[in-house]
Structures are given as C-alpha cells and as structure tokens.
Symmetry: C2
Subunit: 579 residues, 2 copies
C-alpha cells in the first residue's frame, strides 16, 4: 500500500485518475487515513454535496494480509447527514482487494457535472479505467451487482450506491460485496452514499486479478502473532461463541433483559415481541429453513458473525440481519416479524440506505402518526417510497431529524442529526456519553460502552449510574479510533479488552506485517491524533459543546422499566475530550 | 402597559392565565421585551417545539398611543426554523389593542397536551378567558377570522395561526388582522406559528372594548413631537412618496436596475419579467381595477405603504403583495404574472406561512426539478400541498433548507436555515453582511443596508465593494434592534436616517409618551443590549462564527450582470459584533 489513487470527477473531458505517492499520508490507513485527509483537504465550511467535499476510501493497515478479521474499509467525507466529519465503516471484500492492489486510499474529488451522468471506476492490476455507466444508473444495488458480474465476473469486489445515493439522500449508504458477490456490507452511517452520488460515481469495481496477499515484513513473527490473535478471538465467549452462533442479534434478549432496548421510538426499554426476533430465534430459523447463521462478511475472518437468511422455501432473502437492523426495523417500530424485518433489510441494502437511520426514521414517522406502530406492511411501503424517491420517500431518506422536523415532532432520537442506535442512553448511560460526544453524531461503534455497561467486557461500570461513564467512553473512543485505522473488525475489541495477550498479539501482528514497532502507547497516541483532527474539523464546521448533548427529552421523559432519565452532567460530557 | 399576561398551557385542568407586574421587564417593549424574556426564561438548548420554549408577544413602547406608525408587534421564541432566538415582527391592529389594554407582554408557556386540542384566548377589559376552539381547528386564517367575527364582531383584533401553524411547520407564520379585520399582516419569519401551534393556541382575540388610547405623560410635548415626526415622514421621498404611492414593491425596478434582484433561485441578478410585476404596474393595476394602492396596515400610520389587490372584476384577492412576496413568488421563481403572485400571497396568508420562506422554497424545488421555473400553476399547487400537509407539502412547509436537503441540492440560499430575502448578497454586499451575521438567520430587516447601498439613504456605500459593509451593517443592526423595541415601523428609518430632526422628533415622542428622558446614546445602548442578549442565547444554543457565513456557493458562483461573488472577508464579518 504505497500509493494513493486520486480521481478528479471535474476534470475537463470527464473524470480523470492519477496515482501519487503517499507523501504526508504514509503509514496511515482506515479511519486515520480518511479523517486526516478530510481534515487537511476538505474546507470544514463546505457543503457536503458541493465540489469542495471529497470521498476518501481507505483499507486499514492490516487489510489485504492474512491477518484475521482485517477486512474493514473506511469511507470518509464531510457528512450530508450530520455536517460533521464522517468515517463510515464496512466489511466485505473490497478492502482486501484495494490493499492487495497497493492503494492506501482512493480519493474522489472535484465538481461533478450532473448532465454528464454516472461513471464506473474499474481498478485492476493494469491500472484504472473510468467509464460511463448509463446502463447502471437508476439500478438498485443487487441489480447493479448482477450487471457487473455479467461483465467482470464474480471474482472482483464491488463498491456501489443504490438509488438513494444517486438521489443524494442523507441516509444513503455505500454497499460493499461479500464473498458471494452480494452487496450486503454497507458503510451505512452519515450519508456517505450521497457524497458518492454527488460525485457522479455509481460504482467502483476492484479486480484483484493475480495480485497476491500482502506479504509481511517479518513472515515468521506475523504467522505466530496472527495465530495467537486468532486463538484469542476463538477463546473469548463473545467472539468465539456468541457472535458465530447467533450473530450480533444475540444482543436482543440481552438488551431487553437490561431494560435498555429502545421500543416504540425510544418510549420504553423492553419489547414484548423480543423473543420472536431474537438472535436465538433468528439462528434457529435460518438453520431450520436451510440458511446459514455462521458466515464471514469477508474471507479470512475468524469470528464469522454474519449469516444468510432464507425464506420458508429456502430462497435467499438477505444476509442475516444485524442486531441494529432487527432492532431499528423491529422493536423500535413495534414489529415482531423476522420475515418482514429481513425484507426491510434487503430493501435497505438494495436501495442503499443505512438500516439504523431508516428504522429510526420509520419509528419517528410512526410516532408522528404517518403509520401506526407495528404496521409491518406500512413499513415495507415506506421503504419502497424511499427507493422510488417519492415526496414521502424524500422526507424519510433525509433521515430521522429531517423527518421529525417535517412532521413537527420533538421526539427525534438523534445527536448531530444522526439517529441513535439500539441502546437507550438512559439505561446504558456509557453509550449515551458516546452518542453525545463522538465526532460522528450518535454512533454506538465510536465508543461501545455497552461492552462494559452490559456485557461486562473490559470491566464493569453500572449502566444506570452516571458515574464513570465519561472516562469509560473516553477510553473506548480513543481505542476505537485507533482500531478503525487497522482494518481489524471492531468485534476483536471484545477479546482484546478482556485478554491482554490477545491485545499484544494484535499489535505484534501489525508490527510484523508492516515492519513497525508500535507499542500500546502508540495505539493510544494514534487514537488521540485521529480524534483531535476530527474534533478540530468539527469545530471549524461550527460544532461546540452545545452539540455534545442528547436531545433534552432524554433528561425529561423517564424510560420504563427502570424509569430512568439521562443524567450524566454536562461537565462530565465536556470532560470526555480532555486530551 | 404595566402588566404581563402569562398563560400556562400545561396547567392542570387546561390552560390558565395569570397577570403579573412587570418586575425585571419594566420599561421594555417589542423586540427588547421578547428577546430579553426568551434569553432569560427559555433554556437555549431546548427543542423549539418542546415544553421549555415560550412564545412572547409584545407591543412596542410607543404602541397603543397616537404616535404615528407605532403599531408593530414583536413575537419572540426559540425558532423552529433556525434554532436561534427569534423576533418576528408584524403590523396590523393587535399591537395597539394589547397596549391599550395595558399588557406589555403575553407569554405563552408550558407543555401542551396534544389530545386536548386547540384553544382560543380572549383578552378584553374584563380579563382573560380561555376556551376550547374545536370549531376553529383545521381552519385557515381567513375562515378563522370569519368565525371570530361572527362571535366577537370586527371591532376586535385577531392573532391566529392557519393550518401550517397547527401542523407545526417551520415556515408557519402568525397572522394579525388589519383595520378591515383581514388576517393579512404576518409575523412571518422563523416559524413562530409552529411554536404557537405547539402550545395548542389557535388564536388570540384582543377586544379593546372601551379602552382608550394610551395617554402621554406629557401631552403637549407629545403632540408637538409627533407632529414633527409625521412631518418628517411625509417630507421624505421614500416614506412620503415612494411607499404610499407604490408600496414596498417600488423596489422591483430599483433592484433589477442595480443587478441585485435574485432571479431563478439566486442564479441571476436581473429578471426579464420585472416590468410586469413592478410596484408601478401593481399600483396601476389596483387603481384600474378598483383596488387601492395606498392603505395603512394599522390605523394611525402616516406612511400607508399597504394596499388592496383585486381581480379583474374588482373582487378582493389579497392585500397588496409586498416587494418581498412579489419577488419570492415572482422573479425568484421566474413567474411574471401579478394575478398568480396575488393568489399565492393570499394562500400564504390563509394557510399561514412566511411568503419569503415559501417563495424561496419553491425556487429551490424548481432548481431541484420538482416543477420548472416559471410554472405558475405548479407553484399554486405546491402551496396548496403545504396547506393540506401532504408529504410534499411537509417538505416545503419545513422551509428552503430542509427542501434542499430532501432533494439533495447544494443551492439553498439560506443562513442559519432561514431563506434569504429579495436582495442578492453578491450585488448588495451590505445586506449580505447582515444576512450572515444577524442573530435571526438571513433577514433583511435586521440591518437594512439596502438603504445605504442602493437607495443612498443614510449615506452612500458602494453595494459592489466589500469595503465599509461591516460597519454599515453593524450600525444598522444596532439601530434596528432599538427601533424594533419601540413599535415604530422599520420604514420610519428612511426618514430618521436622512433627517436628524425627524430622529429627534421620534425620541421626543417616546419621551413625552412614557415620561422618560432617553437620548440618542441610550438608543444605541438599548440596541446593543438587545443584540448582546440575542447573541448570548445563540451562543448557548451552539452558534459560532462558523454560522455567521453565507453558503459557500455565493463565494464561488458569479452573479450576472455584474459577475460578482460575495467577497467580504470573514474577519470583517467577525468584526460586526465588536461591542
């Protein structure tokens, strides 16, 4: 990974690719790359859909190697949803192939002429080709993947936008294909798909051809470190058992039990229909029907938290819906039918929208009376409206904050205009601190305090108490910012937080791969560097501590069954970034 | 004006009125009252539609007296459109009557239970009555006024919301009736109608009964000062000739001539169809058809800039559309038909939306391809969608910024999410500074530099040069904040800026009325005090200098015919509030 691919979509005569050395960006990958490029090259006051914004795509520094679970891809820009800096993260095959082809980043920039239509970028060993994509424009992600397969086979990886991205909707995602060439792994959050759409890029085909796996600087040390790392992942209860067996949806019962499962647009903390949509039920259903509850989103992952959901006749419906999706479209909307939720998951992936934003948005629409809570057919229709870009679809496609604004509703569970994920901040206060303070808008992955609050991984901090949450969130946010630079999946955190030897094995793996001598302190320093750059960007974009808050109603409305409000003091929130 | 009426809409058993002494708010009126009450009593971080927001209605300190042109009413709150503090200002009869009944302010506060429906407040000499208004709910403003007239006669004044306010749309206005009991004078900007709707108040009937005009502390001095003041107004070319003869729409030809008339959603600075919709044509049309081009929005105004627009058969259509309305629905949308514009003006007033926000929003929708520029029938349909609250109507009703977001468009001519009025900031740079820096979101009235840039009132500052605009805007913003506290119409500024003796006569009028000894320095101090309180509120709400900017495209896209961009340096913008 010794070069950067830069594509100027506004070049005279059409989009033009240039390849350049890493320069200032040497050694960076993933979120460290995307955030530092955006912080340096994108004016913080620009419009996210304007010519000054850039879309930065970067594999982590372990991606493309044999290191386990290292296939995460970071996609960064100024977010059309939040107005903040954004790093949105996806699994799938593209990261591995981009890294193998030697690109540390793809930067898409410049002013797209909308009359010029959409383009396709093909990256292979023989270079970069950019072609008109009139045959793909207007297609959803699955149809796009089909067309690409016809021409390029299924040994390539695909990064694409659906109709939502083409319409520049603020909830639009960017799809990455999985090992079976299905567009199921999404950089979902923050509307990155709208930025890709605004640049007139429909898709990027990454053809690894004969490009080999990245060779470690120190092969023996790498092999040994990776072995210990995998051993650690397999030996931990979450990464070795819970996730492979049930997928992320193992959390449904756990969060309901804890009273922190947001239900009916964040009005209650437990969902009566939880059992019907839990990870256990989901895995059983998949097994009985001939689907698959244990599957990797990319080749070479030891965790295998993904899966395949099929209908009653055994036909593919969608990938195994994630916990966040099952919650957003399920309990949060009062819907307890897995088949409906799976259809919604498929539609979201196909249209290309973030399942969290879309589910929360429908919950807001239900709260506003557009359709009743629990209306499964109504929810399917609403998502179809998004795909077609009807006026109602335009509202919903703009996300939960805009939907609440259009319907005159206070109860929008958002921070910095991004929808909250599947943990009520009143009953899981650590993640509430993360929602409030992360540079990304409400985001659980930015500092997953659920681990320590609920799963008791990395310690034990009472989820209902305000005490200790700021420190917990701070440490997790720093660690996550560093981890997001590596290409390792965030789920390795369960094992490395609990098992010091697995943490060391991960660092050893990185060092042996890249010929570096990174220490645990360096990891912290990297995380802090990334967060500081992101905070600085946001400050220039007009964000202050007044934006590091939850909506006021979370401090006013009590959440059953614990009847708690969010009561972490503002001063505590403001102490998170004390470095 | 020695008391405040406070209405708690969340009181047990239904809305409850209490009357209290002025306390800390003694001596305040208009914008000084609304902004200081909001700054003190409303938490800056609250949701504008939530229980913590308050709606403050206050006549100016000259209102209710015989002082000419003193019938302006201020309505303040945290704005659902901008998130900033808001003072929205209207003419009409209510201000005079509220003042005569002795109320310096009406404060509507508390948590409305939406199941309780809407209420009507009746204020009279015998006290305050609050009644259910089920018969009025769902009615537009004209129908509401008709119903009120049936019950209360037309000697009362009415403050009401239409369906937009009921639906809590961010562009919703609050209507005030004119001398003929027509709901034509609107506190239009910033969505104050949505806050009234969120409090469940459909309307306020102000019945002056036998309440007399406010008696001056020093009657002789008052009479003499007011005489000189009126003389000054009548003697100035703008207030004595231009406005009475042609209304505010006299500006169409002037701004087109100056190349600062925003056309086709701020793409050009001159409109080919201007002659067909100019103030001259409008006044002629009204005269020929039997309308009236010279009319006062409230009794006792020497300027008489209002008018009555009738159709070809002489039937009332709407009040004479203001320049801003003719521009927003006209040139900005490529529509050059006065009858269409008049119908749109009527519909806006009837539904209860800000004509500036609505016109600019339709321009944005046209730019996004929803309907073509120049499509008069299409524009009428769009406004009707707003009135009915269809999904598309919900988008448009949320204003220009949300509409652009829903349709993925960069070109939203807004500051702090409020639509820019009828002066392109690139060709009238002084008003561009005001748009960028005022506490209110893009607002021409907050510091009407057009006066000095274009009309050469109060001096002469080249509209196309960046030099001197910050100082000009600062001085005008301070003077305006003070003037908005008096109840005097902003239009008196033309005369008092040019004629020192008229300015002195205005101060003498105030002093003789209220028994005060205000000086010119005190006026400046008052203006600064109001602005500082507003700035402080906004800062707590999360606004920084990053928000005191125009959208970036105004610095990138050149405006014909002068081919200028907005180039006032950021440091100049940041120097506006140097006090």
């Amino acid at each position: 990974m010794d070069k950067i691919l830069r594509i100027d979509v506004g070049a005279p005569g059409g989009p033009k690719a240039t390849v350049e050395p890493l320069g200032d960006y040497a050694g960076l990958g993933g979120r460290a790359m995307t955030s530092l490029v955006v912080a340096k090259e994108v004016p913080a006051d620009c419009h996210p859909l304007g010519p000054e914004n850039k879309l930065v795509i970067s594999p982590g520094i372990a991606s493309g190697s044999a290191a386990s679970s290292s296939g995460r891809l970071s996609i960064g820009c100024k977010s059309p949803l939040t107005g903040t800096i954004k790093e949105s993260n996806a699994g799938g095959q593209p990261s591995m192939y981009i890294a193998r082809l030697g690109y540390a980043a793809i930067i898409i920039e410049g002013e797209h002429d909308r009359n010029a239509g959409f383009h396709k970028i093909v990256i292979s060993e023989s270079g970069v080709a950019i072609e008109k994509a009139d045959d793909l424009a207007g297609l959803r992600n699955y149809a796009t993947a089909e067309k690409i397969k016809e021409k390029h086979g299924d040994k390539v990886a695909l990064i694409s936008i659906g109709t939502a991205g083409e319409m520049r909707m603020a909830s639009a995602s960017i799809a990455c294909t999985d090992p079976e060439f299905r567009p199921t792994r999404h950089a979902g959050r923050g509307g990155v798909g709208a930025v890709m759409g605004s640049k007139g890029i429909k898709c990027i085909v990454v053809d690894p051809g004969g490009a080999k796996m990245r060779q470690p600087a120190n092969p023996d040390a790498f092999k040994e470190a990776n072995r210990k790392f995998v051993e650690g992942l397999r030996g931990h209860a979450v990464t070795g058992q819970g996730l492979p067996t049930y997928g992320t949806n193992v959390l449904t019962n756990i969060l309901c039990e804890a009273g922190g499962y947001p239900t009916y647009n964040f009005k209650e903390g437990q969902f009566k229909g939880a059992e019907k949509i839990s990870g256990e039920t989901l895995a059983d259903t998949e097994k009985v029907r001939g689907g698959n509850p244990t599957h990797g989103c990319h080749r070479g992952c030891a965790i295998q938290c993904s899966g395949v959901f099929v209908d009653k006749d055994g036909n593919y419906v969608t990938k195994q819906p994630e916990y966040e999706t099952v919650w957003a479209h399920g309990g949060n909307c009062g819907i307890d039918d897995l088949d409906t939720i799976a259809k919604l998951d498929f539609m979201d992936d196909d249209i290309g929208v973030d399942t969290i934003e879309m589910g929360v948005t429908i919950g807001v629409a239900m709260d506003a009376g557009v359709i009743p809570f629990g209306d499964a057919e109504g929810a399917l229709k609403l998502v179809e409206e998004v795909g077609q870009g009807t006026p109602l679809g335009r509202i919903l496609g703009a996300g939960a904050a805009v939907t609440a604004k259009c319907f005159g509703l206070e109860r929008a569970p958002v921070v910095k205009s991004q929808a909250m994920p599947a943990y009520d901040p009143r009953a899981v206060k650590g993640v509430g601190v993360t929602y409030a303070t992360t540079t990304q808008g409400a985001d659980h992955t930015a500092g997953y305090a659920v681990a320590t609050n609920i799963l008791k991984v990395g310690g034990d901090v009472d989820p209902l108490s305000a005490t200790g949450q700021a420190e917990l969130s701070r440490n997790l946010q720093i660690a996550t910012a560093a981890l997001d630079a590596t290409g390792f999946c965030l789920f390795v955190a369960f094992a490395i937080l609990d098992q010091p030897e697995t943490f060391q094995a991960m660092i050893d793996t990185l060092n042996a791969l890249n010929g570096t001598s990174m220490t645990a302190d360096d990891v912290v320093a990297l995380g802090q560097q990334v967060l500081k750059a992101e905070r600085e960007f946001n400050e220039k974009a007009g964000f202050t501590k007044a934006h590091d808050r939850l909506p006021r109603y979370f401090s006013r409305e009590k959440l059953p069954p614990h009847n708690v409000v969010f009561d972490v003091p503002d001063e505590e929130l403001d102490s998170v970034f004390n470095f």
